[in-house]
Symmetry: C2
Subunit: 488 residues, 2 copies
């Protein structure tokens, strides 16, 4: 999609963009005059690395590189994408665009991370304003899918199209706004809630921790998967939204929120809120809290992926892209055991013994079996056509322990592949070569309609026969044919 | 905790309370003059049943019963808890309390579900006002953990204490407010966001679907696990909340939200919103949408449980209570194969073949092994002391398919239990008796410090020997000692 990006500004947002781009194979050049920028970026990249190891089991391509440039112009040379994430001042941003345009390729896309300045104002003094738009992300940028795409009056439809494709490719959910409005959509919603929350703290109705609990044990759980309108539509019962609005519409006129004013952000209020949020942190550092937040976001998105809904659907689409990329690799040498699985051990695969749980060994072998099935042509289309292989018997030797986030892989030898039968032998190894387990599996080819055994389709049978002939020349694996507890 | 509850009002909230109470073994008597109340309740109970089957794998006690009463008084007779969920009119609620107090036991707790009326106003005319408080839940009441507990001026501390214990026992997160305020805390936050969202639709900035996406792909994911303050504290970077407020505080004064007014809820706006939310539903019925929402909420809470955070912590505490209840069962007859596992197949345990994935068979056997370990005394304390059993070899025969939500159980026979070795044979069956799989497992007793084999503690060795002697009299299981692909 793109190969290189300039990132102007290395704060929370700029560093977050850098992490997302690098994790997706884009080379990043960053400019930030802050002397701590390199340290901060390396901390964000470490957290992002940790997060991506958990986010998806799909094999990812090589990461992009990163370097720092001494100026805006130096950062922008040769960049396919210019990401602006400098402070929220129109004059500062316009100055940065002038320097960037002088150095960047004529067709580079310009994306501002502004939270609220109108793109028409941002592009007003640009030489090529048609290529600028707002791409407003949300912290943590490397994990949260939402990005608001806001074109200005002079932005070209082609730039919007390029941006939409680019951010989807980066695993995001681009929301293209049809109308320019200060603060766009998401921040307006957040700010409305935030202002009310400030009043509640100001008036000592509740502490920051209590307000946060009111969110994360209630509406926050709902909003992770449906927005306020769909939630209320369901709450309206059988008559839906019309009933809900008839019932609760009048409350809007009641003094239920402090809608007429904002609290004075004086020193006393700032101190109160800062003190209360420090208490919530309970001594955890900001990077620790980031990791907790990231683990939770990943878990929530993975949970929604199971239901193919909302942010889970976005994650699934991203993974599909990664799997497809992996599938485009040239076919392997089929005369040796075939590499069928490669991943890091997800953190939640470990158990009370602090190592990968025994069931996950079989999950690895199951995934290796699936990959082998794809190699012989028993892929998603084949299964959709009503044919598949079912495992009928399994033997596992657990030979070594492996811990969370360690890299592992599987190799597979076909012991038998004729008629309805397919017998596989998998080795599961640590990336350092250490043997962790072996798995021997008898599969039977079935019709998904009758759930009974049947012959594979000719193409699958032929591919199986081809690999079986090649693997017949390999030595029989040590441990094949064993029963549990049998002497060596 | 309590045995019976009266529920006054069978709308979305009253029926939701009924479902949560019934799922937790409380008998419910409901009064609602609506002729459709029985049908509506049965639909809510069906959705709640479905949800609880997925929510937790812990065995639950018997469900409570339910019946309808012809009057408020008849519903309240003998009730430990009176749940008021009638329309939001102070006069209506006061009238209901008068009738309820005349019939209910003197020590029954009164809990109003009001979204915003002050408890001091609710209790003003009561004979025993000290027992009334607001317990404000959130839809779906049977799943969302948050309940705002708001005492009135005359509510006794003892009533607050009883309510807090009761709702925690029901698996909820009681948030006790220290100050009475109209609409309490959570609804004020939701209403502030909702008002802003209404303006965005009114002004055609965005559709309801776009606004919902701005929530569920962004801030909603964050708010499922941390509230607005902790999120912004982290967004502040190294200097935390103080930096965040210095940077974004001024925006509050900018025209970023429509803070000065609410839109006129006229027919045109109501129609526009109703039409747009209908489009979002894409032809799904309201009960279908409820099930999608419930599946997502369950998945999110279960995901957070893995991280022991927020709503996941609440779910874990609820499950621990259920497990503890189950653990109080008298020990089983050890001379026969021992029932070691019982559950429904979680929906996300199924794969592209639309049946329980092969790895989950080993998870079932692993859980059965864990249960057997607890029976011989190798429990959590034993493991914390540095000793455990590791599985070294496994043989599985997959003999039958099982689908999502079907009930299954495991029984276990000890084939060998002496010295460092423990060899187990598990049968996995459908509740209808159908054999789904067998598992044979060799385990070795280990020191968690050296990760090497060692002798079990004397008590564990003795219990193992006792069961080994009893099980030696049982016939050898069919399939024990098999290797993969071996002829029968």
């Amino acid at each position: 999609m793109i190969r290189s990006a300039a990132i102007l500004g290395g704060g929370v947002i700029g560093a977050g963009w850098a992490a997302r781009l690098i994790e997706n194979g884009v080379d990043v050049t960053l400019f930030d005059p802050d002397s701590a920028a390199e340290r901060k970026l390396s901390e964000v990249l470490a957290n992002a690395d940790r997060a991506y190891a958990k986010l998806t089991l799909a094999a990812r391509g090589p990461k992009g590189g990163h370097r720092f440039a001494p100026s805006v112009a130096a950062a922008c040379e040769g960049a396919d994408l210019v990401v602006e994430a400098v402070p929220e001042r129109l004059d500062v941003k316009r100055k940065v665009y002038a320097e960037a345009e002088a150095a960047a390729p004529a067709d580079a896309l310009f994306a501002s991370s502004t939270s609220g300045i109108l793109p028409s104002d941002l592009q007003a003094e640009m030489a090529r304003p048609e290529r600028l738009l707002v791409a407003h992300p949300f912290n943590p940028v490397y994990l949260l899918p939402l990005v608001e795409i806001v074109p200005g009056a002079r932005t070209s439809p082609e730039a919007v199209e390029r941006a939409t494709a680019l951010y989807a490719w980066l695993g995001m959910k681009p929301l293209v706004l049809r109308r320019e409005i200060e603060a766009f959509v998401a921040d307006r919603l957040m700010e409305a809630l935030w202002r009310e929350a400030l009043w509640l703290v100001h008036d000592d109705v509740a502490t920051t921790a209590e307000i946060d609990d009111a969110i994360r044990f209630g509406c926050g759980l709902r909003w992770a998967q449906m927005g306020t309108f769909q939630v209320f539509d369901i709450a309206g019962g059988e008559q839906g939204m019309r009933h809900f609005m008839a019932q609760f519409g009048p409350c809007l006129k009641w003094p239920w929120t402090k809608l007429m004013d904002t609290p004075e952000m004086d020193g006393a209020l700032i101190e109160k809120i800062a003190r209360q949020t420090e208490e919530q942190a309970a001594g955890r550092s900001f990077r620790e809290l980031e990791r907790i937040r990231d683990d939770n976001l990943i878990a929530v998105m993975q949970a929604l992926k199971v239901n193919d809904w909302g942010a889970g659907e976005t994650l699934a689409a991203y993974e599909k892209k990664l799997f497809d990329q992996g599938a485009r690799k040239p076919p392997e040498d089929l005369s040796r055991p075939i590499r069928t699985m490669e991943r890091r051990v997800p953190a939640d695969w470990t158990d009370y013994n602090n190592h990968m749980n025994e069931a996950r060994y079989l999950q690895c072998f199951g995934d290796a079996t699936d990959a082998f099935m794809r190699i012989v042509g028993a892929d998603a289309d084949y299964i959709a056509s009503g044919l598949s292989f079912f495992t009928v018997e399994t033997h596992i030797r657990h030979l070594g322990e492996v811990k969370a986030l360690e890299p592992i892989y599987a190799e597979t030898q076909l012991l038998e592949g004729a008629g309805k039968k397919m017998r596989l032998f998998h080795w599961l190894r640590h990336a350092d070569g250490r043997l962790l387990a072996t798995g021997e599996h008898m599969l039977v080819h079935v019709s998904l309609e009758t759930r009974a055994a049947c012959e594979p389709a000719p193409a699958v049978a032929a591919k199986l026969a081809e690999i079986a002939a090649l693997h017949a020349a390999l030595p029989a694996p040590e441990g094949a044919g064993r029963a549990v507890g049998q002497p060596r």
